[in-house]
C-alpha cells in the first residue's frame, strides 16, 4: 500500500501535489475535483486592492509563456468577506499567498489571515517579478537581508506554517533560502517565474503591456530542478518544487531532487486535470519502484 502523505512545516498533506498561486481557482470547480489536491494556494492577496498591469498580460513563448498580471486582486478585506465563503466549501487544505510593500503590510496580512480557520499555511510571495515593492528597485527575494526581515516579521505575527516563495532571478538562491530558514520559515517554495520579454517585429513593440513578464512552463524546468537540488542540499526545512511541471514524471524529478511536495502552475491552463493525473502517476511510480512512503522519494537522486 502506497502512502502519499507528506509534511510541510506543521502541515500534513494527503498528497504532495498543489495548485500554484495565480494559476488555479474555484473557477476550475466545473472541470476538476479540487478536493483531490494536496493543497490549493490562493492568488496572492495584498493589503489594498491592486488594479494589475495593462494588457496584453500573457503571451506564449517557445515551450512556455510570459505573464505580467501584476498581482491584480481586490485586497485583504474583500478576500475575507467575499472569497473565503466560496473557498470554505473546498475540503482541500487552503494556503493563502500574500505580498506586501513592507514588513508592516506583511504582518497585517499574516495576522488577519491567521484568524481565518480554513487557512492552514501562508505562502509569502517575496518574488513576484511584475510589481515593485515600495521604494525598492529589487525583489525582496533578491536580497538576503530583505528576505530575513520580511520572514522574521511574519514569523512574529503567526503560528501558521510559513512558506517563503523564492525567485530564480538571483545570483545564488542558496543564500536567500538560508536567510528564510534563519528567519523562521517552515519551508521554501521555488521557483517563481524568470523575468523575460517578447518582441513583436511587425509593430516593433514589446508584446506585453508591462514590457517584461515572468516566464513559466516547460522551458524553465531545468533551471528549477537545479535550484531545488541546490536549496535542498543547503537547508533543513522542506522544499516545494515548482517550475514547468506538466506530468507525473516532471513531479518525480523534482521530488528526487529534494522536493517534499510540488506545485503545478502553467499546466493547469493546458489541461486543468493535470494535478489529479500527477497524483495517480506518482502513486503508480512508487508502487512500481516498491516505495511505501513519499519520504523514500524525496531527495533520492543518486550521483
Amino acid at each position: 500500500m502506497v502512502k502519499l502523505e507528506t509534511k510541510i512545516g506543521k502541515l500534513r498533506l494527503k498528497n504532495p501535489v498543489m495548485a500554484a498561486s495565480g494559476t488555479f481557482g474555484p473557477e476550475y470547480g466545473e472541470l476538476v475535483d479540487i478536493n483531490k489536491l494536496g493543497a490549493y494556494i490562493t492568488k496572492t492577496i495584498t493589503l489594498n486592492a491592486r488594479i494589475g498591469n495593462s494588457p496584453p498580460r500573457v503571451c506564449e513563448t517557445p515551450s512556455g509563456m510570459l505573464n505580467s498580471i501584476g498581482l491584480e486582486n481586490k485586497g485583504l478585506d474583500d478576500f475575507i468577506k467575499n472569497k473565503i465563503p466560496e473557498l470554505k466549501r473546498l475540503k482541500a487544505p487552503l494556503i493563502a499567498s500574500i505580498a506586501g510593500d513592507n514588513a508592516n503590510e506583511f504582518q497585517e496580512l499574516a495576522k488577519a489571515l491567521s484568524k481565518v480557520k480554513r487557512i492552514l499555511a501562508l505562502e509569502i510571495n517575496l518574488s513576484c517579478p511584475n510589481v515593485k515593492h515600495g521604494k525598492r528597485d529589487f525583489l525582496i527575494a533578491q536580497d538576503e537581508e530583505a528576505t530575513y526581515e520580511i520572514i522574521e516579521s511574519v514569523r512574529r505575527s503567526t503560528a501558521l506554517t510559513i512558506i517563503a516563495k523564492l525567485s530564480p532571478n538571483v545570483t545564488d538562491i542558496k543564500n536567500i533560502a538560508k536567510a528564510a530558514e534563519r528567519a523562521g520559515a517552515d519551508a521554501v517554495s521555488l521557483i517563481n517565474t524568470l523575468v523575460g520579454m517578447a518582441v513583436d517585429i511587425d509593430t516593433k513593440r514589446p508584446v506585453l503591456g508591462n514590457i517584461t513578464g515572468g516566464l513559466s512552463g516547460p522551458a524553465i524546468k531545468p533551471v528549477a530542478l537545479r535550484m531545488v537540488r541546490e536549496v535542498y542540499n543547503s537547508v533543513r526545512i522542506q522544499v516545494i518544487g515548482i517550475g514547468g511541471i506538466m506530468d507525473h514524471k516532471d513531479a518525480i524529478e523534482f521530488m528526487l531532487c529534494g522536493a517534499s511536495a510540488v506545485q503545478v502552475g502553467t499546466a493547469n491552463f493546458v489541461n486543468p486535470t493535470t494535478s489529479i493525473e500527477i497524483i495517480d502517476g506518482i502513486k503508480n511510480y512508487m508502487a512500481k519502484h516498491k516505495m511505501k512512503e513519499v519520504r523514500e522519494l524525496i531527495g533520492a537522486l543518486k550521483r
Binding site: 494559476t23 473557477e27 488594479i51 494589475g52 500573457v58 506564449e60 491584480e72 486543468p272
Partner: protein, 257 residues
C-alpha cells in the same frame, strides 16, 4: 463548461489563409450560445502550449463549426489537423450575445474575422424569423468571408472593402453611418465583432444615436476560465474585467474605449 474530446468532421481552407472546422459534439451543440467560445488544444503535444480561444461560428445538429485565420503557431498547428482527429476542447465558455427576439431590429457589424461569432447569432435570429442587416467589412475582396451564408438565411448584407475591390469602398463603419441615415433605427440593437479600433468606432456611433450595442472582444488568453486574470479589458467604471469570464460579449457602454 466541460472538458471534452471532439472529432474533426471537416477542416478545410475556404479562402487563402481562412479555415472552417466542423466538430462533432452533442454537448457543444446543445450548450453553446451565440457569442460564446471554446478553448482548443491545437497541437497533440506541447509544441503549442496554451489552448487557443475560438468563437462558436455555427451551432449544428450534433456539433459546431469554428472559423479561423492562420496567424501564428496555434492556428497553423490547428490547420494541419485532419478529419477523424480528436481535439481536446473546453467549452462552451463565457457570456454570449443577449438576444431575446421580439420586435427589435438587429444591426450586425463585422470586421474581417469578426463574422465568426456573428453568423451564429444571425442563424439564431433566422430561427425566430428575424432578418438582420449585416455589414461586413474587410481589407480586400478575398477577405470577405461568409457573405453567402448570411444571404442564405435572409439577412440584408452590405459589403465594404478598404481597397474598394468589392462593395463600398472604405470602412464598415461608413456603411453603418449610411444605413442609420436611411432607416428608422429606434428599437434597434447593434451587434459587433472585429478589430478594436473598429469596435471603438461602432460603439461611438451607437452612443451618438442612442442605440444599444453589444461588442464581442478578443484578447490573448491563458486559462480561459477567469482564474489567471490574463485577458483584461479596461472598463469605464474603473479597473478591469476579464474577456474570458465576464465577456467576451460586453455592453459597449461598459468598456473604457
Amino acid at each position: 463548461m466541460k472538458q471534452l474530446k471532439a472529432k474533426i468532421i471537416e477542416n478545410r481552407m475556404i479562402a487563402q489563409g481562412f479555415y472552417k472546422m466542423r466538430l462533432r459534439s452533442e454537448c457543444l451543440a446543445k450548450k453553446s450560445k451565440p457569442g460564446q467560445f471554446v478553448e482548443i488544444k491545437c497541437s497533440k503535444g506541447h509544441e503549442v502550449l496554451l489552448r487557443r480561444p475560438f468563437s462558436v461560428h455555427r451551432i449544428l445538429n450534433g456539433g459546431i463549426e469554428v472559423l479561423y485565420e492562420v496567424i501564428g503557431r496555434g492556428t497553423k498547428s490547428l490547420s494541419a489537423r485532419g478529419k477523424g482527429d480528436s481535439l481536446d476542447i473546453i467549452g462552451p465558455i463565457g457570456r454570449g450575445f443577449e438576444f431575446s427576439g421580439g420586435k427589435r431590429r438587429a444591426l450586425i457589424v463585422a470586421g474581417g474575422m469578426g463574422v465568426a461569432p456573428l453568423l451564429c447569432l444571425a442563424e439564431k435570429m433566422a430561427k425566430k424569423r428575424i432578418r438582420p442587416y449585416v455589414m461586413i467589412g474587410a481589407k480586400t475582396a478575398s477577405h470577405i468571408i461568409c457573405e453567402k451564408e448570411f444571404k442564405k438565411i435572409g439577412s440584408f448584407v452590405i459589403v465594404s472593402t478598404e481597397d474598394g475591390s468589392k462593395g463600398n469602398k472604405g470602412f464598415v463603419t461608413g456603411c453603418l453611418t449610411a444605413l442609420l441615415s436611411t432607416i428608422n433605427y429606434k428599437l434597434s440593437t447593434i451587434y459587433a465583432c472585429g478589430p478594436h479600433p473598429m469596435l471603438k468606432a461602432v460603439a461611438n456611433i451607437a452612443d451618438n444615436h442612442g442605440i444599444p450595442c453589444q461588442v464581442s472582444l478578443e484578447e490573448r488568453m491563458a486559462c480561459g476560465v477567469g482564474a489567471c486574470l490574463g485577458c483584461p479589458v479596461k472598463i469605464r467604471s474603473g479597473g478591469y474585467k476579464m474577456v474570458c469570464k465576464d465577456g467576451p460579449v460586453f455592453d459597449a457602454k461598459e468598456i473604457a474605449w
